[in-house]
């Protein structure tokens, strides 16, 4: 029996101790906050609707005697018991008095005396010094939309005052010290907008009374609640629209391609030019027997060819070196393509028509064509022979040959380079030419001196270094090319056998060389 009684007393004691501890902790936190927020020396607050407490702080705990007196309007002054407490958090001592009754909407006068002298004197009203608890059940969730969070909470349990509350919501990116504050009037929900996607946020809430009927201090902040916003994603509608538009564009482009496939094919994959149309019947009737074909067509071929030339579009002409042709394992003869009509631009038509004479080495040219026909694969072997434009190796005109021949044998030799039509690549595009360059071609580089009146252009920057056995020059518009390759003795001999081929066609561009680069480039 005694043991049971002692156990019961122990339980009661523990409960009281826990209650006091909890209340004490709450009191300390309230006092600590008011020490920061309240400017009055004698600080008072009301918790709930019944507990009005006033306290003051002392720097040094001495054995001073404090007296606390209070009086409501039209009442007598009444003493209040003064207590003290040491605050561990701030290492300070506070004296406080908890009034036995709390009257609202009535004036309250309080006085503190220390050793008989008035220390503090204050007049206040209980409805203006309320201290409310922070909001409860703070919840933060994603709203389902990008950059938004739904915040909700419950007001502190205060009867008669629920609709007089103002809330403050503070939110910040987790880890950041910069936050924003939103104020709410009598509403316990809030949607935070314009937030960063895929980011973790911290949210706090606090409350105070609006001051119309009741006035209070700001409550303490709630514990922070963390929430993540939705990651930025692409709206499925936008994805569908993009796909739909892409599909339509593909269909349109496909339609355009199919309707113009012939033109596009011709541009992207031009046909390999064949000389068949230049030599009608050569390969069909005469089975490639050029002699026979020549004999049948007689001398009208060249004129017709020239006429055909003029009707066709100008093609890019590139000059191949004889040495390189030799180095590729094919004989110069074999590499030299069959004579293909050099396509001239209209401006060269008159020159061609007027001054074109039957080349003296036509027979050799025919042989070249036959060789080409016999060895068509030689086209692909040469690195230069990748495109299908026409190459023409042109030597100097007769006039200049006469002049040069009087000077040097080498010049004559170089000038006697026969006309060679070769298939060339269409690599070079930007060409520049200068009249002076024509006459300044160094013989040491192995290239022949070019002084013909043919209109051609070569890029100076593409002039190969010495020792390079292969040089070529891209010739535009004129359809002729100059062979600037180092001349070997055998080659020279061979050329000499075939005599001098002179190209005496007139070329209007010749007179326009200073401006030919621009002219030709525009022709491209």
């Amino acid at each position: 029996m005694r043991k049971m009684r002692s156990d019961g007393l122990t339980v009661v004691f523990m409960l009281c101790l826990a209650f006091v501890t909890t209340g004490g902790k709450s009191f300390e936190s309230t006092v600590s906050q008011l020490l920061r927020d309240e400017t009055e020396d004698l600080k008072c607050f009301v918790v709930g609707k019944k507990d009005l407490t006033c306290f003051w702080e002392v720097e040094e705990a001495r054995n001073d005697q404090y007296t606390f007196m209070y009086s409501y309007e039209n009442e007598k002054k009444t003493p209040c018991v003064v207590s003290s407490r040491f605050l561990l958090a701030s290492n300070k001592t506070v004296f406080f008095c908890k009034l036995p009754k709390t009257i609202f909407f009535a004036a309250l006068d309080v006085q503190v005396f220390r050793d008989g002298r008035t220390l503090y004197n204050r007049s206040l009203r209980a409805e203006n010094i309320l201290f409310v608890d922070p909001p409860r059940n703070l919840t933060v969730m994603s709203s389902g939309k990008e950059g938004q969070l739904n915040v909700s909470w419950l007001p502190p349990p205060l009867k008669y005052m629920d609709d007089s509350m103002i809330y403050e919501v503070r939110y910040a990116v987790d880890g950041s010290h910069m936050g924003k504050v939103e104020e709410m009037m009598a509403s316990t929900t809030l949607v935070l907008r314009d937030l960063q996607s895929g980011t973790r946020y911290k949210v706090w809430v606090r409350v105070k009374l609006d001051g119309v009927s009741y006035k209070s201090y700001w409550s303490s902040w709630t514990d922070p609640v963390f929430a993540d916003t939705l990651p930025s994603g692409i709206d499925p509608l936008i994805v569908l629209l993009v796909l739909f538009i892409g599909l339509i564009l593909c269909l349109l482009s496909l339609t355009v391609i199919l309707s113009h496939h012939k033109v596009l094919l011709k541009k992207l994959w031009p046909d390999i030019p064949t000389p068949e149309h230049k030599f009608p019947g050569l390969f069909t009737v005469y089975k490639g027997d050029f002699k026979e074909w020549m004999s049948q067509n007689n001398g009208s071929m060249w004129g017709r060819s020239v006429h055909v030339f003029t009707e066709e579009l100008p093609s890019h002409v590139e000059v191949l070196s004889e040495v390189s042709l030799t180095s590729h394992g094919t004989s110069p003869r074999e590499e030299r393509k069959p004579v293909v009509e050099v396509e001239e631009s209209e401006r060269t038509d008159s020159g061609l028509m007027g001054g074109w004479r039957e080349p003296p080495h036509a027979q050799w040219l025919m042989e070249q064509l036959r060789a080409l026909q016999e060895n068509p694969e030689s086209l692909s072997q040469s690195t230069l022979l990748q495109s299908h434009d026409t190459y023409v190796a042109l030597n100097q005109n007769s006039q200049h040959v006469e002049e040069v021949a009087e000077r040097q044998e080498d010049d004559v030799f170089e000038e006697t380079l026969p006309l060679q039509t070769l298939f060339t690549t269409e690599g070079t595009s930007s060409l520049s030419a200068s009249h002076s360059d024509l006459g300044s071609l160094p013989q040491s580089s192995g290239s022949g001196r070019l002084s013909s009146q043919s209109s051609f252009e070569y890029p100076n920057h593409t002039w190969p270094p010495k020792g390079c056995g292969y040089t070529y020059m891209a010739v535009a518009d004129s359809g002729v090319s100059m062979d600037y390759s180092p001349m070997s003795s055998s080659r020279n001999t061979e050329l000499g056998k075939h005599g001098i081929y002179t190209n005496e066609y007139k070329n209007e561009i010749f007179g326009k060389w200073p401006f030919s680069s621009q002219h030709v480039e525009s022709g491209y």
Partner: protein, 183 residues
């Protein structure tokens, strides 16, 4: 002549019986923000009068209601007692403020007096909408426990504000009409 007077009497009886002049019942005004609006107006009047010191003195005392509220005591009262206390206080307050019109006041004070009188009329309408019966305290010679005496105009307006903030608001917040749908 007899017929004319008889008809007239009959008409009066019918009108008295039907009472066509009576207004339809007011919708209950349970939103306390309405009262808060009048409280704010009372605050403005009190602030304006507080600034007036010498011009606002009065030689007479005003009988005004007590504004203090002890929640323990208030919650122990029933709704009828609370209503009676509030209605009698409004009646007394209205008489006190109306008595100020007899004195020469400044234009500012006079405008605030008029606004306060209109304020009290509106609050009575709100109480009527909540089916709170009107109550006129008996004019007894003895002191009323719920009444007090003030001597200044500023105190009178302070009493007005605190009475609205306290007892009137508590009564409206606990009006039975506003809590009929809540179990």
């Amino acid at each position: 002549m007899f017929h004319g007077s008889g008809l007239f009497a009959l008409l009066l009886m019918v009108l008295e019986w039907t009472r066509p002049g009576l207004s339809s019942p007011l919708r209950p005004i349970c939103d306390l923000r309405v009262l808060d609006h009048y409280i704010k107006e009372a605050w403005d009047a009190e602030a304006a009068v507080r600034a007036c010191k010498d011009d606002c003195s009065s030689a007479t005392n005003f009988t005004v209601p007590l504004t203090r509220v002890d929640f323990d005591v208030w919650e122990a009262m029933n709704i009828e007692e609370q209503a009676q206390e509030v209605q009698s206080g409004i009646h007394v307050l209205n008489e006190a403020i109306s008595s100020l019109q007899a004195f020469n006041q400044t234009d500012v004070i006079q405008s605030n007096i008029d606004a306060t009188i209109r304020n009290i009329v509106s609050i009575r309408q709100v109480l009527r909408s909540l089916s709170i019966p009107e109550y006129v305290p008996p004019t007894s010679g003895g002191e009323d426990k719920e009444m007090q005496k003030v001597s200044s105009v500023s105190e009178l307006f302070q009493i007005h504000v605190n009475f609205l903030r306290g007892k009137v608001r508590l009564l409206l917040a606990s009006a039975p009409v506003c809590h009929q749908g809540v179990s």
